[in-house]
């Protein structure tokens, strides 16, 4: 017990957290039980009109029209900049974070796409709109009315960095499914990206008779690629096709840019003890690493007014990158289990299990992703076997079957697609 508080949050903040959590839990319930109004009236010096609601959220299109806002969406479709006469802010799809003037603010829920339009949680009216319009805003939910102040009256306040810590620990993009996804026909895999680990200067593990991880995993990946193309008719992309190094982020980016349905990183194992052999499969832990600690320290500095355009962009990129895999963890776990099951069933070697681990190459993958260790080349016997064509073929076949299992699971609707 004593331990928890040490690597948990500072104690003084715990109470504030609990309060916040209870307020947040109460919010959706209140929204559902009340008779929902269709419109929110707004008025202020020289301005009046109404905003459309989308469920218990405000419709972005009506906001833009009412206040003459402009917007631009980035190519990946995961963020949108909104500009008004008072200033600008950036929205992140499926995220409650808004970024403005170098400060993050946390909305009561994520920005969502509803029936082709974007909808924002109601507290955007008081947390985001003032920056855009340059006017103070007071919202009266009971009367469904928004009172706006004079032009130039808004003073933007960033939220407590504690909110961000809370946000990181509870937001899961798979907690809701956009309407259009619900009606989608089950669809199997169409693109698979395979990642042969290491390459070039990164040789990876090395066996006692000179087997190199980088060579072995490329050979197995090529075999698996052929099997998948012939057997499942899917498009397969390898992150490297020869002996050269590709950066870890680049590997994930290849999968993202190809809009892959699956990303599998293939490695060969090693450890300090030669006796150890077998198979292991990994998927990412929920918090991509413990680096939130450092990340939020950076944000806190930002909240204190340390600003810079390039820095801010880099920070945002880093957050999106770290969050990318979190919405696919259930599917990634499923994928990892299927891979491990097929390997231990078909190939000689012990079952060392499926685990979560903070593996850099899986972070940033916007699709289900796993890393498989296809055997220990630090074990002399398994090293010999791994060099055999037949053993490599068995491994490739097992990985193929696991991917086929996943494909079938999708078609039968047993595995849900991620929210992407």
């Amino acid at each position: 017990m004593k331990r928890r508080s040490r690597y948990g949050i500072p104690r003084a903040r715990t109470a504030a957290w609990a309060l916040l959590a209870s307020v947040l839990l109460a919010l959706p319930a209140a929204g559902i039980s009340a008779d929902l109004p269709q419109m929110i009236r707004f008025s202020g010096p020289g301005i009046a009109g109404s905003l459309r609601l989308a469920g218990d959220m405000v419709d972005l299109a009506s906001l833009m029209e009412a206040f003459g806002l402009r917007s631009s969406m980035d190519l990946m479709g995961d963020r949108m900049d909104i500009v008004g006469e008072g200033g600008s802010c950036r929205l992140l799809m499926d995220s409650p974070l808004i970024l403005s003037r170098g400060l993050f603010t946390v909305l009561s829920g994520p920005v969502r796409s509803m029936g082709g339009n974007l909808a924002l949680p109601l507290d955007f009216l008081t947390k985001g709109l003032p920056t855009l319009t340059g006017r103070d805003a007071r919202f009266d939910p009971g009367a469904s009315s928004l009172a706006l102040g004079e032009k130039g009256s808004a003073s933007f306040k960033g939220s407590d960095p504690d909110d961000l810590v809370r946000y990181a620990s509870f937001i899961r993009r798979d907690q809701y499914v956009p309407e259009e996804k619900l009606r989608e026909e089950p669809k199997g895999l169409s693109v698979v990206v395979l990642d042969p680990g290491h390459g070039g200067r990164s040789i990876g593990a090395q066996g006692s008779t000179g087997t190199l991880e980088k060579d072995l995993v490329l050979s197995v990946s090529e075999k698996l690629k052929r099997e998948l193309e012939e057997g499942l008719g899917v498009k397969v992309v390898l992150t490297r096709t020869a002996d050269y190094y590709v950066g870890l982020k680049e590997r994930t980016a290849i999968a993202n840019n190809n809009r892959a349905d699956l990303f599998i990183s293939i490695h060969a194992n090693a450890t300090f003890r030669r006796e150890i052999e077998g198979f292991e499969t990994y998927y990412l832990n929920f918090r991509s690493s413990d680096k939130e600690a450092g990340r939020y320290a950076e944000m806190e500095n930002r909240a204190l007014g340390v600003k810079g355009g390039a820095d801010e962009e880099a920070l945002l990129e880093a957050i999106l990158w770290d969050m990318a895999q979190t919405s696919f963890l259930a599917q990634s776990s499923e994928l990892a289990s299927m891979v491990q099951d097929r390997l231990v069933k078909n190939v000689r070697g012990s079952d060392r299990g499926v685990r979560q681990a903070p593996l850099a190459v899986l972070m940033g993958a916007r699709m289900p992703a796993a890393l498989v260790e296809i055997g220990f080349i630090s074990n002399p016997e398994q090293e010999v076997r791994l060099n055999r064509e037949s053993y490599q073929a068995q491994i490739a076949r097992s990985l193929y079957e696991a991917i086929e299992d996943y494909h079938r699971g999708l078609l039968r609707g047993e595995i849900k697609r991620g929210t992407d």
């Binding site: 690597y7 194992n269 150890i276 292991e280 832990n285 991509s288 593996l359």
Partner: protein, 190 residues
């Protein structure tokens, strides 16, 4: 009766004053990169010796496993540096396995505001056998040993040859400061 009230008031005021002083003393320190020139903390002064639980691997290569050892140093940071060196020496008792190559050097160690920066020589990358979980155990043998043995350490940032690195040896993310993972004693991430 009245005297009692006055005493109570004095006590409360004194407690508040102490609290305020404590806040001023311990709070408000700006987080920032380590600089060796900054004056050492109180805890860092003078030679010291400590019983430390070192986190090694077990024979299965799946879990971390403890070995108790006495470590001393000329100052707090010197002590911490020796603790990491003891990890590199490897286990003395049977049933435990090293987590770091024996050729690794500890180039430097800084401790500021609950964060420790450990700068390891490139052997930690180049001589590491490889393997994802072997790398997890390597990283967290250092992190857990420092965080779990010293109450004033919350997180550890591993540097290689003086720089931040994306991974230790190609798999495990060490790009930021890391917190302890006590569940690794049971072979799980959490």
């Amino acid at each position: 009766m009245r005297k009692g009230v006055i005493t109570a008031v004095i006590l409360v005021v004194a407690a508040l004053a102490l609290l305020a002083l404590g806040r001023q003393w311990f709070g408000g320190k700006a987080p920032g990169p380590p600089s060796p020139e900054r004056p050492a903390d109180h805890a860092a002064a003078g030679p010291q010796t400590r019983q430390v639980d070192l986190y090694f691997a077990d024979v299965s290569g799946q879990r971390l496993s403890l070995e108790r050892r006495e470590v001393s140093g000329e100052s707090r940071e010197d002590l911490l540096l020796h603790v990491v060196e003891e990890l590199i020496k490897g286990p003395l008792e049977p049933g435990r396995v090293r987590t770091l190559p024996e050729t690794v050097q500890v180039r430097a160690l800084f401790h500021r505001d609950g964060t420790v920066w450990v700068d390891l020589g490139s052997a930690v990358r180049d001589e590491h056998p490889g393997g994802s979980w072997t790398e997890v155990l390597a990283v967290y043998s250092v992190v857990n040993t420092l965080v779990e043995n010293f109450g004033d350490i919350q997180q550890v940032q591993i540097l290689i040859d003086g720089s931040r690195s994306e991974t230790l040896a190609g798999h495990v993310d060490i790009s930021g400061p890391l917190r302890s993972r006590i569940q690794l004693l049971a072979g799980d991430w959490e």
